[in-house]
Symmetry: C4
Subunit: 229 residues, 4 copies
């Protein structure tokens, strides 16, 4: 069932360690089938090396397992909240990649300091608010999804396809699972550049809005002229 | 004799350079057979590349070589003290991995700054006290084990399966030698995240106890729901 | 047509990820045929893995595509301005390599702090001025080339074969495309050394002109005695 | 002629990029035949990838080429001064490895901050004095050797088998060329640990002499008990 969706989720999950974004088994990615209301996700706590496409678990909108012998990732409820709230998203990735996670642990957004950032993210990559004690004690993983969605109340998730969960790490998304992984790679690289830039100049440099817009739009805007279109 | 124990120790020792935790031949791991009161350990000063399972040295509780042509690691007395004091431990690993060792050299515990840390260590990873001049001049390696055990007088070694020996480097342990190595990998990654986080925000951020407990317990507690159980 | 030029450009472009200078597809290199007034350049937004020599796009001095099915890199106008202004240049490379880009994002030149730098660059590697709002809104990529050329009004591009475009990243050049790539590798390494040196000693150390001249000239001067000449 | 010596020098030179100590072709190593008064050294400016044992150049005590088609490394005079002054040395290595070079560029010795350092170097790794303008203009490479020897006037080169040439980079040595390379690997790792430690605790921690002696001597002293002796 849904062999193609499982294959897409599998490729995305394999991409995470291949790009150096996960150590041990911190991290996972989902692929979304909006028509059927089903996601394919990595099974919980399984080594990336031993993962096969058939191991992907199919879960419906309510988090009920539709197919698969293994238990889905414990982060499944977070992914489901994102998928339901962000309409055009076809894939979500979660990693503990080192530089992005360091910003999350410091409780700091990743500021716009260079054009590399603008090529992917149309503004700073925001950090969620602290979870309350009640949220931590309750449906912790679903609450994590909710603070992400809350943080985007006034932001467009397609213009800034990434967030830092405070003290935890990044989630990224995209129109496909592969794009979510690409955004995770870009996020980690931008976080590394930002940390190094702040090391050289601790106060940073205010970034001109015109340059941010130009770079984002030449790749993603209506008149985009980057790539083979 | 004890082929399986030697194989387990061998795999653990090979895992250290494979995970980038040792350069040259700094580091070693042991596997423990509690029923027989015997450990298998790496021979001293032998290159990891040339290591074979049969090279592992068998040593009893008093540090006497039971089998093996080669001399055991000079850290053997440290491992033995840990093994005798920490009842449920089946393996111990010692590395000079770069970030954990930097905290040890700075004489600083690794603080809890993120959920990655909580997934493995239920609190800060402590640093031992300074050895006295007399302890350094005496049975130096056994004394190193003793200050580790002393440091855990009020800590549970299974809740925090790692320590930093001041000015030296980390030791980690687990129910098996493989788990000790996994904890060494996690420790180095958490130390890296902590150093980077402190680089971005030198004072750190106080971590909520509720979040620490939630993450540790969802993986290790009585009601754990992480992985395939 | 111009198979050799396309091969040279292809090899240079492949060298960028091979030397760890580009992630995703940030970066490109050109090879120049001055006699014919033609450059070979990477197509826009194509993955390095799938690149073949025949994919290289041939462009004339005015930026008109002379041969090639694919659209040339969006950075083509920048390369063309450099090629027209810097007479002896046979290749140009552009990367987002992490340390050089961090200096560009901080708006700081890479200072001369060691002899490794002197072996390649006869002075600090300069950073361009900020683009005006009008320049950003206009022919952005050509304007980027113009501020580079402006910055070299009183510098010799063969003595300092590199520049940092403010907030963006480095461009390097050389007598051949291969030399441009070699200079990109050297620049990234010197930027890394400089960042680490400033980490140890934030004010840096003033560098003696005599030592800068000696190192640059023993490799590049009239009486050069480095290498097999 | 002297095939074994050339093989030893070749293996040492290949070890430098293999251990990540050189980028491009910064770096070289020599092997010494004291009985014949001859050294084997890397040819100048030749890529490590294309190097063969037969390319090694044989040079006598006065720097005269005894055998070899290629010109010896431009650093040959530095190596010769070291070889003549340090009696028990059988090999010397020179690299621009990133962390050790950063200390050299900052004009700072590598302080003793941990036991890893003590296992190889019986005290801080010193930095040479600034060369005078006259020394730079004269026999620059031989003068570089002379300030190294000067720096060891009151130090034992076998107890501290490494030095940082100010603003330039490290030289290491040993009883064989392979040991010189091993010391270059250890030096870079200790420099990395020291830089990271100072990042966590900028003032460092004074290191107890008793611990330094214990670690150095258990490996190198008269009663050494490390390794298979």
């Amino acid at each position: 069932m849904l062999t193609e969706l499982k294959r897409e989720a599998y490729e995305a999950n394999r991409g995470l360690p291949a790009h150096g974004l996960v150590r041990l088994n911190f991290g996972n990615a989902i692929a979304v089938d909006r028509r059927r209301g089903i996601i394919a996700i990595k099974p919980s706590g399984v080594d990336y090396d031993r993962l096969r496409p058939a191991d992907m678990v199919l879960v419906d909108l309510d988090g009920k397992r539709v197919e698969g012998r293994l238990r889905p990732s414990s982060d499944t409820p977070t992914h489901l909240v994102i998928y339901r709230a962000f309409g055009h998203v076809g894939g979500v990735a979660h990693t503990h990649s080192a530089h992005a996670t360091s910003f999350a642990q410091a409780g700091l957004a990743i500021p716009v300091l260079g054009t590399t950032h603008c090529d992917f993210f149309h503004g700073p990559v925001p950090v969620t608010r602290e979870l309350t004690r009640r949220e931590i004690a309750g449906s912790y993983e679903a609450e994590t999804g909710r603070v992400i969605v809350q943080r985007f109340a006034r932001l467009d998730p397609l213009e800034i396809p990434a967030v830092l969960v405070m003290r935890h790490g990044p989630f990224t998304w995209g129109r496909t699972a592969a794009e979510a992984v690409e955004n995770a790679v870009a996020l980690e690289f931008c976080a590394k550049l930002a940390a190094q830039t702040l090391g050289l100049r601790p106060t940073g440099l205010k970034f001109p809005a015109a340059l941010l817009d130009r770079h984002f739009n030449r790749k993603h805007g209506a008149g985009a002229y980057y790539g083979q279109r």
